[in-house]
Amino acid sequence: MDEVFLAILLLVDATIRVATPLVLAAFAALYGERAGVVDIGLEGKMLAGAFFAAAVASSTGNPWLGLLAGIAASVALSLVHGFACITHNGNQVVSGMAINILVAGLAPTLAYAWFHQGGQTPLLPSSARLPQVHLPGVEVLSPIPVIGPIYREIFDDANVLIWLTVLVVIATHWVLTRTRFGLRLRAVGESPAAVDTAGISVTKLRYQAVIITGVLTGVAGAYLSTAHGAGFVRDMTAGKGYLALAALIFGKWRPWPTLFACLLFAFTDAVQVRLQGVPLPVVGVIPVQFIQMLPYVLTVLLLAGFVGKAVAPKASGIPYVKER
């Protein structure tokens, strides 16, 4: 019994760790899309964040400087996206894809040039990775059944960015529903003309939104390379940016359902890792490749079947051009 319980706890723990970058990226996109800027370049920005975080952490030995570098790189790309799509009314999908393709090639190239390790950054020592937060009282609580193991396995020693992500989720909900900025952000994604005629700058609001997108994606990238992993590896985002967009759509652009969608995707991923090489009843051992497909198959099924009525913010993806 205890072993099953422990296995479940470990699965939950793994889910949270896998979910963190997804949640960060999905919430990043939430800000952009609620403001009317679709960001398919999430993947590329996350990859850039991962690379620059690992590169700076590796060179300076300071993971916090790495985190800042990751954020800076991601924000810079966000501004490029904003310049193309907001200032010049460019096509948002084209701009986003351009960013993805650019970073997919640029990051390994720079890594190769700077570190000579075949397109990776050196393995980071634990001092150059973002720390885990050790909670007090683990020894005291540990013997208590149920609560003890939950506290020990899930809450204690969680990475600092996991806690930050929890804050981001709560703050996002609050910002969207309770603040002036949130009201304007939601309005500009639905009806930019209404915002414009109310005397508020559409351009400024949308830039603010894409900058937030950049910051959060940068953190997501830094998490991958300096918290969850220990260095940058080529293509280490592995489609998480797209998965985050799918979670956002599945969550109908609302914070709590989006969080749920991210956790669901992360859960299937955690299960998938557990199932690799394990003989299952009836079917036996399933080839690893099929197990690894699980989260993506789930994405396709959910998006095709269950979210038929998902209504995107009305002005999402449409540049704002004044009518005469």
């Binding site: 309770r178 603040t179 002036r180 900025f181 009201l183 304007r184 939601r186 309005a187 639905e190 009806s191 003309a193 209404a194 915002v195 414009d196 005629t197 109310a198 005397g199 508020i200 700058s201 009305k314 004044k322 009518e323 005469r324």
Partner: protein, 523 residues
């Protein structure tokens, strides 16, 4: 014509004044030295045809568009209006033709947007709620503050726009074509609100092309034509005819001149016709009527009472749930092989759809392609394999000549013609095929006075040639002046027939209004 200051204006500077405002859109000189003055506490009309520059000048005043030169004064003081924010700060509010509302937001959130009163919303919400209740009471601007705006009827949405402006402290309220989307009852309600605002000392500017509204509501009128102010007059000292002439630049016939109808045999006979929409709701509930050769039968009613569905069904665009439709005595309702848009064309039924942009035309196609839509299979336009482009072109050019479509360019995309010229392209296509029955929906919606005159004359001529015409329009004026018989439709039923009588025009309109409001349904 001299300016027409009111008694108040001689003592105080005008609430709003523009001096020598110019605006170009590329090569198009949209505003040419526009100077106008609106005395404080009055309702001021700005009238002109589409493209006369009346919306442009007001967008400039509101800071939505930048002027190329010129000056704007509020209460006699020059103001630099660079954005709507500056205009709002100077006390100028605007209700746009297309509402600037966020549909999923509640009324309260819409009013609050841009005037939140703090970083968080809670405090501002309470203040706004109290203030809006007061405004609603003072001016008759009732709306449910907690309903999403998208669920409200258009009349209520417009009240939200007015509330937005008033909540921001607007003393001058500009309304751009405010009645275009309103029912007659909603229009009356709006006018009551505007008069109440005037009594409280607010200044109102109303942009419109409807002469009747100008005469009914305003104190002074500015007439614009091709970007210029051509006249400033007192409403009491002018007439519809004079204003129309100023707008168009020549004499215009406002009333259609026509001889009494000479009805022939019945062409269309409908009985017990029932139509359902996609969700199964009955939209037309067993209507019956007939249209004879040589007469125009008008169907009046507030939009959304089943007229559109009826017209579409008769044009073969919508399935029939029950009842009978006879064309020249031949039953169509149970014969899908005959009762569809393509077959009906062969049966000499023409259809001018209500929505020319979505149904009547393919706006991204050239005029000549639009001129043969639905007839593109005709031998006349087809060779053995390829289309006969020369034949298509000459056909379109001939129609453009006959209907005075401007510019006379058959290769121009339909989207680039003005509303009136688009409508002429559709009318030419349908009428020049010499139909026995013409179904016409909203023939002059968004069309200039000059073009309205032409379209009305053409329809009457078609009638005089012995054709049957079924006309659906929400414009009562149009129905009354064109029709030989008027049927009133309400809630999917025909509520009775009215003879259009010149002497009793006003009375009929009132009666129509009452019937539409459903008073006779209860009686």
């Amino acid at each position: 014509m001299p300016d027409a200051p009111t008694a108040a204006a001689t003592l105080t500077p005008p609430a709003l004044e523009t001096r020598g405002v110019n605006k170009w859109f590329g090569a198009n000189h949209a505003n040419r030295d526009v100077s106008l003055a609106v005395p404080k506490g009055t309702i001021h009309g700005v009238i002109g045809e589409n493209g006369a520059g009346k919306s442009t000048i007001m967008s400039i005043v509101y800071g939505y568009l930048p002027a190329d030169s010129g000056e704007i004064l509020v209460d006699g003081r020059p103001v630099a209006v660079k954005s709507p924010r500056d205009a709002l700060a100077a006390g100028v509010g605007m209700v746009h033709q297309h509402f600037m509302l966020v549909d999923p937001f509640t009324v309260l959130e819409n009013v609050l947007l841009g005037a939140e009163g703090g970083v968080t919303l809670a405090a501002g919400m309470e203040r706004a709620r109290a203030e809006l209740v007061r405004l609603a009471r003072d001016y008759g601007l009732e709306v449910d503050l907690d309903r999403p705006v998208g669920e409200l009827p258009v009349g209520a949405q417009q009240r939200v726009e007015i509330l937005k402006a008033l909540y921001r402290g607007a003393d001058i309220l500009i309304l751009d074509e405010p009645t275009g989307v309103l029912t007659p009852q909603e229009t009356d309600h709006l006018f009551r609100i505007l008069r109440a605002l005037r009594e409280q000392g607010k200044t109102i500017v109303i942009i419109t092309h409807k002469l009747r509204e100008i005469m009914e509501l305003t104190d002074n009128v500015t007439v614009m034509r091709r970007g210029e102010v051509v006249a400033n007059v007192r409403t009491a000292e002018t007439s519809k005819e004079q204003l129309a002439e100023l707008m168009v630049g020549r004499k215009v016939l406002l009333r259609v001149e026509k001889a009494p109808a000479q009805p022939g045999p019945v062409v269309l006979e409908v009985s017990g016709l029932t139509l359902r929409d996609r969700s199964g709701v009955e939209r037309v509930k067993g209507v019956g009527f007939s249209v004879r050769a040589g007469e125009i039968v008008g169907i009046a009613g507030v939009s959304g009472n089943g007229q559109s569905e009826l017209l579409e069904a008769l044009a073969g665009m919508r399935p029939v749930a029950g009842g009978s439709v006879r064309l020249r005595g031949e039953e169509l309702a149970d014969r899908p092989g005959l009762f569809n848009a393509k077959a009906l064309r062969g049966l000499r039924v023409g259809h001018v759809p209500e929505d020319r942009q979505k149904v009547g035309l393919i706006t991204s196609f050239e005029a000549r392609e639009n001129a043969i839509l639905g007839h593109h299979d005709d031998q006349a336009y087809n060779g053995r394999v390829l289309m006969d482009r020369a034949a298509v072109l000459s056909r379109c050019e001939a129609e453009m000549e006959a209907y005075d479509v401007r510019p006379r360019d058959a290769r121009l995309r339909a989207a680039n013609f003005s509303g009136g010229n688009q409508q002429k392209i559709v009318l030419a296509r349908e009428i020049e095929r010499n139909p026995d029955l013409l179904l016409v929906g909203q023939p002059t919606r968004g069309v200039d006075i000059g073009a309205i005159e032409f379209i009305h004359k053409r329809l009457v001529r078609l009638r005089d040639e012995g054709k049957a015409i079924l006309l659906v329009s929400v414009e009562l004026d149009e129905i009354v002046s064109l029709s030989d018989r008027i049927l009133v439709m309400f809630d999917g039923r025909l509520m009775g027939e009215v003879a259009p009588n010149d002497a009793a025009l006003e009375q009929i309109e009132r009666r129509l209004g009452l019937m539409m409001a459903g008073v006779e349904a209860a009686a």
